[in-house]
């Protein structure tokens, strides 16, 4: 069957035309939105497998949701083998692009933006694939999200590369996900640059196998503007990378610097939960070959305890890498298994501070480890994430 290409131009009837095309499309079809601004009042959705939605460039084809009246997203996708490319979504009332429960989704050179700068009234997520398998985000731009610019949640087999996240609370966030490669990206002017998180109480949890490499996470010093209640609302301004409650995370060959509070933080999930299946501590974390720039010169003590504790323990001499040192009670007593220990190696003149929980709680004992060499070890590289990108 020959693929049909349907071309739609901006008009007063554009919503109707695009949405009808999205519903009536057959697998293999292309829906092309020409250059120009499409003013849309209602959210768009695609539920046909194998469709490509394309514009004529992320700065040429603009889907503008400033006057949105209904629907919680700009665009939602719930079908497999979909490619979205070369357009931008502006000022969606909720998330810009949500993709739920699909296999094979590509975002190529897509931009999501809230054009009025960082504000708590902006939508939560820019690019938002969730519960999906084989997710490729390549050459995209995400600006102004009040939660995360590029957010991949509860998914597996994920590649985020060659993309740029700016002026979001979290630049790039991989949450409750398995097997992700995040590389060749730039995260700047966010509150936190790159977040690898895991939260309790969700259908998929226990995030693991995430590689973060060759990224620039620099100058993420925008005040946290997330509405309260959201987990990223606890991120201090000026953090380069945060790893929270994941296992098997490898952070290497990144350039991380000019972050007000800390370049890398490795932390335990800090809230109470009834979820007994949830493991709140990070483990098997490897950090190597990174190049650090200045950090900690203007720590944000208004969000959570992290910056304040760090400042107190370091006597103002803030480290590049922070680990809160928390492990299960049995490991506090008997030590961590070797394969769960954090390894920090070959990071130039980078510095580290790790809390010693027992020493921290009792008087007369050392509260922290300051010698980065105590974490020296042999790196066991994680496997590359690969899937067939030709769908």
């Amino acid at each position: 069957m020959l693929a049909a290409v349907q071309i739609i131009q901006p008009s007063n009837n554009a919503y109707q035309e695009i949405q009808e095309a999205l519903i009536l499309a057959e697998p293999g079809d292309v829906i092309r939105l020409t250059a120009g601004t499409f003013n849309l009042q209602d959210s768009l959705s695609l539920d046909v497998n194998g469709v490509q939605v394309e514009g004529e460039g992320m700065n040429q084809t603009i889907l503008d949701f400033t006057d949105q009246q209904s629907g919680a997203q700009g665009l939602s996708v719930t079908s497999d083998n979909v490619t979205l490319q070369d357009f931008s979504i502006q000022n969606a009332k909720g998330d810009a692009i949500k993709v739920k429960g699909v296999t094979n989704i590509k975002f190529l050179r897509v931009k999501t933006e809230w054009t009025d700068g960082p504000k708590p009234e902006n939508g939560a997520y820019g690019l938002y694939p969730v519960e999906s398998t084989n997710v490729l985000i390549d050459g995209c731009v995400a600006i102004g999200a009040s939660d995360a610019g590029i957010y991949v949640g509860q998914s597996q087999n994920i590649i985020v590369r060659n993309s740029r996240a700016e002026f979001n609370v979290a630049g790039i966030e991989i949450e409750n996900s398995y097997y992700a490669d995040v590389f060749n990206n730039v995260a700047t002017n966010n509150t936190g640059g790159i977040l690898i998180f895991d939260l309790p109480g969700l259908p998929q949890q226990g995030g693991h196998h995430v590689r973060v490499f060759n990224n620039k996470s620099v100058g993420n010093n925008t005040d946290n503007f997330a509405p309260e209640g959201n987990i990223v609302g606890e991120v201090p301004r000026g953090t380069g990378i945060i790893i929270q409650a994941n296992s098997d995370v490898e952070v290497f060959d990144n350039e991380i610097g000019d972050n007000d509070t800390v370049n890398i933080a490795v932390v335990t999930y800090g809230n109470e939960t009834d979820d007994e299946a949830y493991y709140p501590h990070p483990k098997s974390i490897q950090i190597h070959g990174n190049k650090f720039g200045p950090t900690g010169y203007n720590p944000d003590t208004s969000k959570g305890d992290l910056a304040q504790i760090l400042y107190n323990l370091s006597g103002g001499n803030m480290p590049d890498i922070f680990w809160d040192g928390l492990v299960p009670m049995s490991q506090l007593v008997f030590g961590q298994p070797d394969d769960e220990k954090m390894i920090v190696s070959n990071n130039g003149d980078g510095t580290l501070l790790a809390i010693k929980p027992i020493g921290y709680m009792l008087p007369f004992l050392e509260p922290a480890i300051l010698d980065i060499n105590e974490f020296e070890g042999v790196i066991t590289p994680l496997a590359k994430v690969e899937f067939d990108e030709s769908f």
Partner: protein, 345 residues
């Protein structure tokens, strides 16, 4: 009334009804490759404008309907002749292929100065390849309804339950939005017609009787089917907890259920959920963004004002409001019910 007498009345009613019927169901409902452009082509109604059903098409109603901007909902069901329904406790009846659920959204404006207005008619048709949703939007003349693939926006006014004239930007959903609520684990399914939600009296043409008894008389279901009755959330004699859970079940539970379109949140509001955190009690939001309203938890027992659940029920902002689609107004009685429920938790 004794059962046999009821049955007698029913058969009388069916005979008389059948002999009057002018129209019958026309379209091929098994294979919808050619979807009719107009509702009238199906032949579900012998009188479109007055919503008088054709032979073999039967009215029904639910104990608890979903809030949809105070619209009146006229529901009908067609089951191919001689076929039976399957029954599974707590689940929607299993309808045979070719069955159709027909729901017309209207402002009947019975208590006020405005004319009756039919807005849209949604069909759920059980085709050979599963349930399909198709919706039709009524013309100004109210003579027929035309297929609306992308949905439609209908700015209009209606007379509210309190007798006030209110404006609404009524939004007929597009086909994909139907799936948001009607799809569980990627399979389309009806939501309303569960035995417990059908177990109530209905005023039929010539007789008032329990809907399950009526369906049994039609030969659709077993006469001895033991179904519990769902608590009516508007029934003030029922317990506050039962009423609130019934309300959340029908208004939220079709998406907020494992496998539903809101399961990414881990907030489950269906009738069967028992885990307090999963029900929202001291549960932090996951992906709410500004829809958290600067509040920390979905439900804070004793403090309705601090509960995100209620904040989102109150909102009219598309980026905040719950449900995400299907309403442009707030459900004041529902908000009051959930406020009272949270405050006494």
């Amino acid at each position: 009334m004794k059962a046999f007498k009821k049955l007698f009345l029913i058969s009388f009613f069916l005979v008389s009804f059948g002999s009057q019927a002018q129209a019958s169901v026309q379209s091929n409902l098994l294979d919808l490759t050619q979807v009719p452009s107009y509702l009238s082509e199906f032949g579900f109604f012998q009188d479109m404008q007055n919503q008088v059903p054709a032979e073999g098409v039967h009215p029904y109603s639910l104990v608890n309907p979903l809030f949809s901007d105070q619209t009146d909902k006229l529901r009908f069901v067609f089951v191919p002749e001689g076929q039976k329904l399957g029954y599974e406790k707590d689940k929607v009846f299993i309808f045979p292929v070719g069955s159709t659920l027909i729901k017309t959204f209207a402002y009947l404006n019975q208590n006020g100065s405005l004319e009756q207005q039919l807005l849209e008619t949604r069909l759920l048709i059980n085709t050979a390849s599963g349930w399909k949703a198709i919706s039709y939007v009524w013309n100004k003349e109210q003579t027929d309804a035309k297929r609306a693939i992308a949905g439609a926006t209908i700015p209009t006014s209606f007379v509210s339950h309190e007798g006030k004239v209110m404006d609404v930007r009524y939004r007929a959903p597009n086909q994909n939005q139907c799936k948001e609520c009607h799809q569980v684990s990627k399979v389309m399914t009806p939501i309303g017609p569960k035995a417990r939600n059908m177990n109530k009296l209905m005023q039929y043409e010539s007789v008032e009787m329990n809907q399950l008894t009526y369906w049994a008389a039609l030969g659709w279901i077993d006469q001895n089917l033991k179904a519990e009755a769902m608590g009516d959330y508007a029934d003030l004699s029922a317990s506050l907890n039962d009423r609130a859970r019934a309300y959340l079940d029908i208004n939220c539970g079709h998406c907020h259920i494992p496998g539903g379109s809101a399961d990414t949140t881990g907030l489950y509001l269906d009738f069967t959920e028992q885990d307090p955190e999963q029900l929202g009690i001291f549960k932090k939001p996951v992906a709410a963004g500004r829809a958290s309203g600067n509040l920390k938890y979905s439900v804070v027992p004793g403090h309705a004002k601090d509960s995100i659940l209620l904040y989102r029920m109150n909102s009219l902002d598309p980026g905040i409001m719950m449900p995400e689609s299907g309403r442009a107004l707030a459900d004041e009685p529902g908000i009051q019910l959930i406020t009272d429920w949270i405050n006494q938790l």
